[in-house]
Symmetry: C2
Subunit: 383 residues, 2 copies
């Protein structure tokens, strides 16, 4: 019986190794049951890449290696766009430093959930490592706000024989431009504005402390490249997330200089924008698209877009159309129509996607890569 | 002032015509203000095709021409999959008779909402045209059930100079295999099973009456091709919709013979299927896919698939994965992983799509056409 079980497991291990080996650019594999020289990395495999611009990820003992600190924030994240844009944007920044062709992505493994929880808390007797200022007891604009909303760690690995070795870390630090707080539990929510200068100064100081603490963390060498990227959260009622405003890479315990990032998100149609706004032409084009679409279909209730600019140059656009449909054929015709008008009005040379929703959720989806002229479309169907 | 307005309108008309003319394979256009010889078709344009397998649709006076009878059913549609699969499937049947390269699709314009409402009702003194049987007053299995749940009209047009001319009609008739009814308003719901033979006999009779009535409808000639497709609804608790079981085309007032359609929907993993089930191998492959995915990611809560078979040959698969994500990087890694294992386990040579959902809605989407080996993937992001 014991023997039978052992064989079954071995077959399982081989089958899995075979499966993973077949996954494109497979990373190093220690196999299901093979011993590893580094117990910390035993049974480590990678998912393989689906394209040269996407990272391979780490599989440990057959499972995707998640972070112990996943999804931690100082207060309730005030806008779901912030979460997506912070984490997705951080990965894009990482790609500039750690080429997906040469590095394997690992969810942060060096900062534990308990460590990050204490860092994101206020400094106090009980929490000497808190990166947010101590509570000064005030309940108005003279209070010490929560500056640091979230910290995200991303690890970048390379193969060394059978092991994966840490070759770089990226730390994202999400700062509040507005701190939302309650004066009493379950009470009304108040806003405390934080000036840009105060936020940036506080953030730079936090970044330095984080780097110093990381250098003392087991497994992180004194010259490991650490990228730090600073993010400012968008207000609760914004229809887009925040943006990264600075980044740097350090191979020591200090941060010598920051690269300022001029990233701006715009929501179209722009409300009350001046003709001098650098996004004004894109907004005008979007409004033409909007009126074509609204004119075509009687029940279109909402069309908006998020656009992102780097150095005032558009980087891409996410368009969302919400409308009521009465039949599947209406959805198909509408999607075909959108696919035809979109290339005329939406920005070219950058990725654009269009989500078509009804009250029942997503109905169709169109997208175009930077280099394409035509949109690929997909209507969600079922049997 | 009046003159100014006229010019503005003319410019508007020209701009719209120019826009539409630029839309791929543009159909006949009477322009914004040009007089038409057929007042019924004035200002008719088409959306143009996005591909040879998709219909161009009808735009009338600048708007998509919807049907007056959109979304009508005899009782509340008992399963949202039924609606999508009935209407989408009907369009696919139409494509076999009216090639999208040569015909333009128009939402049904000949059966009005009030006509269809009376047809879908029970026959009675007040409703002599009711296609469902008269109420015999019974409240148990001896009652006359509602056989006909929904009737859908699709029109297929061709250009003739400046006009669009009706060249064919498709009628879909959705039949109940189970009639859900209440004995008293707001009361409990009871089920009345309808035998396959009774349903088919009743359906054939209804189809004949519908064809006879269409022949008497203004604008429909005595020899216009009419395709009739018979659909049986899936039960309320089914995880897929119903299927078409027969179709025919007639150029007269009678229906001489039916083509039986052997279409079967399966939901994977099959529960308690015998090894003789023709879908058993596909279900096994799906279960391997399922265990790979569940093994990879700790919080996968649900993976199911709908597959459709014609003459016991698989036609395609819709896979739905529901899982909780804690970060955008988890979604990205998970999607990359799914893109790599899917080609190994999911059926090849037929279209397959995979929707990845969380409690917050769709997170990512993968699809593969019949002829491709690799899946295209898209992770929904925002700025």
């Amino acid at each position: 019986m014991a023997r039978f079980k052992k064989i079954t497991m071995l077959v399982g291990g081989v089958a899995m190794a075979a499966l993973l080996a077949a996954c494109g650019n497979i990373g190093s594999s220690t196999g299901g049951g093979t011993a590893s020289t580094n117990s910390n990395q035993a049974g480590v495999q990678t998912t393989g890449q689906i394209s040269k611009s996407e990272y391979s990820g780490v599989i440990k003992n057959g499972h995707y290696l998640t972070s112990n600190a996943r999804g931690l924030t100082a207060t309730t994240m005030n806008n779901t766009f912030n979460l997506t844009s912070f984490e997705g944007g951080l990965l894009n920044i990482s790609k500039q430093f750690y080429d997906p062709a040469n590095y394997i992505f690992q969810e942060g493994q060096y900062l534990s959930g308990s460590t990050l929880r204490s860092w994101l808390g206020r400094k106090s007797k009980n929490n000497p490592n808190g990166l947010n200022p101590k509570d000064n007891g005030k309940k108005d604009d003279s209070r010490n706000p929560i500056y640091v909303q979230s910290i995200e760690e991303q690890d970048f690995m390379q193969k060394n024989g059978d092991n994966l070795v840490l070759k770089g870390i990226t730390i994202g630090i999400a700062m509040n431009a507005i701190d939302y707080y309650q004066k009493e539990q379950y009470g009304a929510t108040f806003k405390q504005n934080i000036s840009k200068a105060a936020m940036q100064n506080y953030g730079n100081d936090v970044a330095k402390q984080v780097v110093q603490r990381l250098r003392k963390t087991r497994g992180i060498s004194s010259d490991l490249p650490i990228v730090v990227a600073m993010y400012v959260q968008a207000p609760t009622d914004n229809l887009s997330g925040g943006t990264f405003y600075a980044s740097t890479q350090t191979k020591s315990s200090t941060i010598d200089n920051w690269n300022k990032l001029d990233v701006v998100n715009k929501v179209f149609p722009l409300i009350g924008a001046s003709t001098k706004d650098f996004a004004n032409n894109d907004s005008k084009s979007f409004q033409n698209f909007q009126s074509q679409v609204e004119n075509f279909f009687p029940t279109v209730s909402d069309i908006t877009a998020q656009a992102q600019y780097l150095d005032q140059k558009i980087q891409g656009e996410h368009v969302t159309i919400t409308t009521q449909f009465y039949s599947q054929t209406e959805i198909i015709s509408f999607t075909n129509f959108v696919a035809q008008v979109a290339p005329k009005f939406l920005p070219s040379g950058v990725p654009v996607d269009i989500t078509i929703n009804s009250a029942n959720g997503i109905q169709a989806f169109l997208s175009r890569n930077s280099n394409d002229r035509n949109f690929e479309s997909h209507v969600f169907t079922s049997y």
